[in-house]
Amino acid sequence: MIDTSFVGPFLPEIVLLAATLLVFLLDVLGVRRLEIAGAIGVVGVGVAFFLVAADLGFSPIAGFATIPSGQINVGGPTGLYAFTSLGLVFQLIFLTAAFLVGLASLSRPTGERGASIFYGLLTLATLGMLLVAIAADLIFLLLAIELTSISTYLLVAYTRKDGRSLEAAMKFYIVGALSTTLSFFGASLLFGAYGTTNLRAIAGMGSAGVPTLVLLGYGFLIAGLAFKVTLVPFHAWAVDVYDGAPTDVSAFLAGGTKKIGLFAFFLVFLGPILAVKASGASTLPFGTGPFNVGPVLQIALAAAAVLTMTVGNVLALLQKEMKRMLAYSSISQAGYMLIGVTVGTAPAIAGATLQIFAHVLMKGGAFLVVAAVAGVGVGPLITDWRGLGTRRPLLGVAFGLMLLSLAGVPLTIGFVSKFVLFSSAVEAQGWFVWLAVAGLLNSALSVFYYARVLKVMFFDVADPMPTTVPLAAAASSARLAFGGIGVGRAAAIALVAVVIVAVGIYPQLLLGPIQSAAQHFVNVGP
């Protein structure tokens, strides 16, 4: 008799898998209409979202929970997967990204090829992301990441006819494959040092391994995972890929898949860092006797964080193209999020989690707007956006909100998340305060290029309207309502704008659950 009780908890993943298979099946059968594939994808993601939310215990829908509450936040080494509330929170975050991109992509031009491939790959990548969130084993984690990676390599290139997309996919692939190699090499070294690949077990054995082997292993792992998180200097691919990929895919990459790297950082590095806090003393890695890898990791991660946010911001300063500017901004934001991992306290984890969620909205939303704007005939350069704020006030205001949120201006989610994150660094005291300082100074630097875009949008005089041609082509299709933007995309953008402001005004809404999830994570480990 096969035990099927383990199936229940995986219902969200199963739903996504089913959606993926359905889309591909229909594709094989020749049903390739955007509406159908899109509906399947969006509904699949939506259902998964609903189920995960129920698992997290949101009161009105808690009855639909598929995971027995006894299986969440259970400590100690287990098998390949473990349900933590933080993991579930991250599943929600990933699903949010997928949902927004799926919704917006409903408004893609009808004649475009590969609609069903797009949604199939989207749901498949999302499935990989969900698996990352529940991973408890290093190899399981890396394989889940690869599932997402491979899906996204293909997503970037799914149109197959665009040289820029293909070039982006090629770069993405090569750098990604190299990073994968490094990750697995690092994992193998840790396996050699500890004799296990279970993350909780590794975290618990912080002082047992061969120091050099362990440190080299972690080094390879940081390098490998940093590719996904776009830490400097592992970031170079991201700009080209975000730039070259279809913009909705860029939104998914920047807003979605990048975050699995961060959660992987949580899982892999927070273990040893948290273990230090429990055990206390640390000695040099080359000595004999007990040693803790945590503080060493913290220093390395801190260096990476500061370097990432700084270089990302400085590079963003000179960008002339909107997408590349957003890409660099995305890189710098990764640096902020890394502060949470480095500090490694429950407040910091909560702060980083909120920042990650905020970034999903802000950056995902921003790329969606870019796609929308490109759809109405505005060029790729920032200066092409002249006067957009007056020409398309709603779009302008929404984009302005996202930029303000990225810059961390109050009354937006970006402010709350940065506030909590940097507060947590200060709260941890010691040298972590300098991380807050670095982060805030970088925020200040970042304001410069965000403000410049605002200036271009709202203050510069618009060119003669270039939007007439696409508008005429748009005819009266409902999909291209809202001046050629489309219902789905408009809804996605509006949703983002609303959430950005809502959470900015009343952050307790999210902070409560996130804080308790972070606390659980600290208590039970990855």
């Binding site: 090629m170 590719f227 390395a300 400085v314 590079l315």
Partner: protein, 643 residues
């Protein structure tokens, strides 16, 4: 109460001038009545006050906190000043009706003049130093407005600014003086400290300052110098004298009222008040005597050569104010005020007479005038009376008071030999005074014709201009004799009672008086010799005195020097600072901006587009991580300890 009456600002009335005159007349009546009442009952001081603002106590210097009050104090010296201010004010107002009737800015003129009178009265009856300072600034403001009354004239606008700024320097010193007294008196003295009490003037048998302090305290010495600075600014004493001659750009009536009789006397009044209520240290006294005596002489020399009738009188004002300062410095505050009293009348008379001439001819250049005594008999007589009073010829008013000044200083020479040079200067100035004022008289009035034929035919002004001349002439003749009235004497003595040193009446040295009268007569004689009967004396070009004349005409180059400091010195520094601000401070900001830009550009170029390069960065990053993990981090942990 006086403030209320005269403070009414009148605008846009057809007969606004008359209303202002009526009000100032009423104020005069009230003022004189108050003085009369005070004279009848010496020692009965009326002090009314309200709290202006109050800050609760603080640790340190001010345990009782900090209070500023607004109040009025009527005592002998303030009543004396009230009389001067209201009488001259009324007379000048009346005169203005005639003198100013062609002017387009008439409502503004009367409003400003009324405001001035209100502020001046307020100053006089202030019961504390802060309020005093407040009104002090206000009269300065009115002076600024009135000097710049003809604001279309660049010279008038410039003179107004100059007057304000120069007196401002004095004001700043005055303010610092207040602060110094403040800190010294915060905790000492009656009523829990003078400062805590809001600087209210308290009548006592001695000045507030104990004689022991007067000898020793550096702080009080500096405070005294600062008060002197304030007074010097207002009363145009050396070296802050430059603004007064330029202030003659204002209407002549203004010159008469503000820049001769009242406002400039406020500095002297301040010194008197300070000396009566506070007392000066001996060093302060010496400095005051020095400034007074020197200014008396110094200003007189400049008056000797000047061709402008108003400026000659203006220098004379500076010089006479020097006398007053001199007397106060020597310790005879009431003598100074007595001279102030008489001077107000005869100087106002001189100005109004000069104004009458200017009104008739439209010029101020003495060398264009001449022979005016025929068409303008009254004016000529009035000017002559004023001149005699100024020169100190008995029995005119100036004689009595100036004689008192000289003899009072003389009486202190034994105790303070250092006063000698300044006494001599003051004495020499008597001669110069007589000379320059009669030089002016002869130039304007003697002879048989006007030198510049393009000028219109001279005539007397309307009755509103003549009546004031008559009234003031009467005062110029008789004001000196007031001292023989028991009530007036009571005022002077009552005021002086505070100071401890009585005025010098009756102690006047007959010999001294005789010499000074002779000197004055000599001055008049010389003037008659050189300028009498239409003669014009001109110094030969080759004369050795030419450089001296040029020096005097250029006012010892003080004005040039000050302008240079202001325009070149300060302005250049300021331009340099501006340059620094724009290009160094802001330039640094721009530099940082550019640095980031350059850095950004460098990094940007690393984004070559070649995927192999990206892979290389990854490998470099990997090696960097190894370096941190294996070398840097362990070192840091060993050095600083974990987390």
């Amino acid at each position: 109460m006086i403030i209320g009456v005269t403070g009414t600002r009148l605008r846009r009335f057809e007969y606004g001038g008359w209303i202002a005159v009526a009000l100032s007349g009423a104020a005069m009546v009230v003022g004189v009545l108050i003085a009369f009442g005070e004279a009848m009952s010496p020692g009965n001081y009326t002090n009314v006050q309200i709290t202006w603002f109050h800050v609760a106590g603080a640790p340190g210097t001010f345990p009782n906190g900090f209070t500023l009050v607004m109040g009025t104090l009527v005592d002998p010296i303030s009543s004396l000043m009230l009389v001067v201010v209201t009488v001259v004010g009324f007379v000048v107002m009346l005169y203005s009706i005639g003198y100013m009737h062609h002017d387009k800015g008439l409502p503004r003129y009367y409003a400003e003049l009324s405001l001035f009178l209100a502020a001046m009265n307020g100053l006089v009856i202030s019961n504390n130093l802060i309020e005093f300072f407040l009104f002090w600034e206000l009269v300065g403001l009115c002076s600024y407005f009135l000097i710049g009354f003809y604001y279309e004239k660049p010279s008038a606008a410039s003179a107004a600014k100059e007057a304000f700024l120069v007196t401002r320097i004095g004001d700043i010193m005055f303010l610092l003086g207040i602060f110094l007294y403040f800190s010294h008196y915060a905790t000492a003295g009656p009523n829990g400290g003078w400062a805590a009490n809001g600087f209210v003037f308290v009548h006592g048998t001695t000045p507030f300052l104990a004689p022991s302090i007067r000898g020793s305290s550096t702080l009080i010495t500096v405070a005294g110098i600062m008060i002197l600075g304030g007074a010097a600014g207002k009363s145009a004493q050396f070296p802050l004298h430059v603004w007064l001659p330029d202030a003659m750009e204002g209407p002549t009536t203004v010159s008469a009222l503000i820049h001769a009789a009242t406002m400039v006397a406020a500095g002297v009044y301040l010194l008197a008040v300070a000396s009566l209520f506070l007392g000066f240290t001996s060093f302060d006294s010496l400095v005051i005597v020095a400034i007074g005596g020197f200014t008396a002489f110094f200003a007189a020399t400049m008056a000797v050569v000047h061709p402008d009738i108003k400026r000659v009188i203006a220098y004379s004002t500076i010089s006479q104010l020097g006398y007053m300062v001199l007397a106060i410095g020597a310790g005879f505050a009431m003598v100074g005020l007595y001279h102030l009293f008489t001077h107000a009348f005869f100087k106002a008379l001189l100005f109004l007479a000069a104004g009458s001439v200017i009104h008739a001819l439209g010029t101020q250049d003495l060398f264009k005038m001449g022979g005016l005594k025929k068409p303008m008999k009254l004016t000529a007589a009035a000017f002559a009376i004023g001149g005699l009073a100024l020169a100190g010829i008995p029995p005119f008013a100036g004689f009595w008071s100036k004689d008192d000044v000289l003899s009072s200083v003389y009486s202190q020479l034994g105790a303070h030999p250092a006063y000698w040079p300044f006494f001599v200067m003051a004495f020499a100035a008597v001669f110069l005074t007589a000379y320059y004022i009669f030089r002016a008289w002869f130039l304007a009035f003697s002879g048989d014709r006007i030198r510049d034929p393009t000028l219109p035919a001279a005539h007397e002004g309307p009755w509103v201009m003549q009546v004031p001349l008559v009234i003031l002439s009467a005062f110029a003749v008789g004001a000196g004799l007031f001292v023989f009235l028991p009530g007036f004497q009571g005022l002077l003595l009552g005021g002086a009672g505070v100071a401890g040193i009585p005025p010098a009446y009756g102690t006047a040295d007959v010999f001294l008086s005789a010499v000074s009268v002779l000197l004055a007569a000599g001055g008049i004689g010389l003037a008659a010799l050189l300028w009498g009967n239409g003669r014009v004396f001109s110094l030969a070009d080759s004369s050795v005195a030419q450089p001296l004349r040029r020096l005097l005409l250029h006012r010892y180059y003080f004005k040039v020097g000050y302008d240079w400091i202001g325009a070149k010195g300060v302005y250049t520094v300021s331009r340099a600072a501006d340059f620094f601000d724009r290009y160094v401070i802001d330039g640094t900001v721009h530099g940082l901006e550019r640095m980031f830009g350059a850095m950004s550009d460098r990094l940007r170029r690393m984004q070559s587009g070649l995927v192999s390069d990206y892979a290389a960065y990854i490998v470099a990053g990997l090696l960097g991580l190894f370096a941190i993990l294996l070398v840097v981090a362990p070192f840091l942990i060993a050095r600083f300890g974990g987390s």
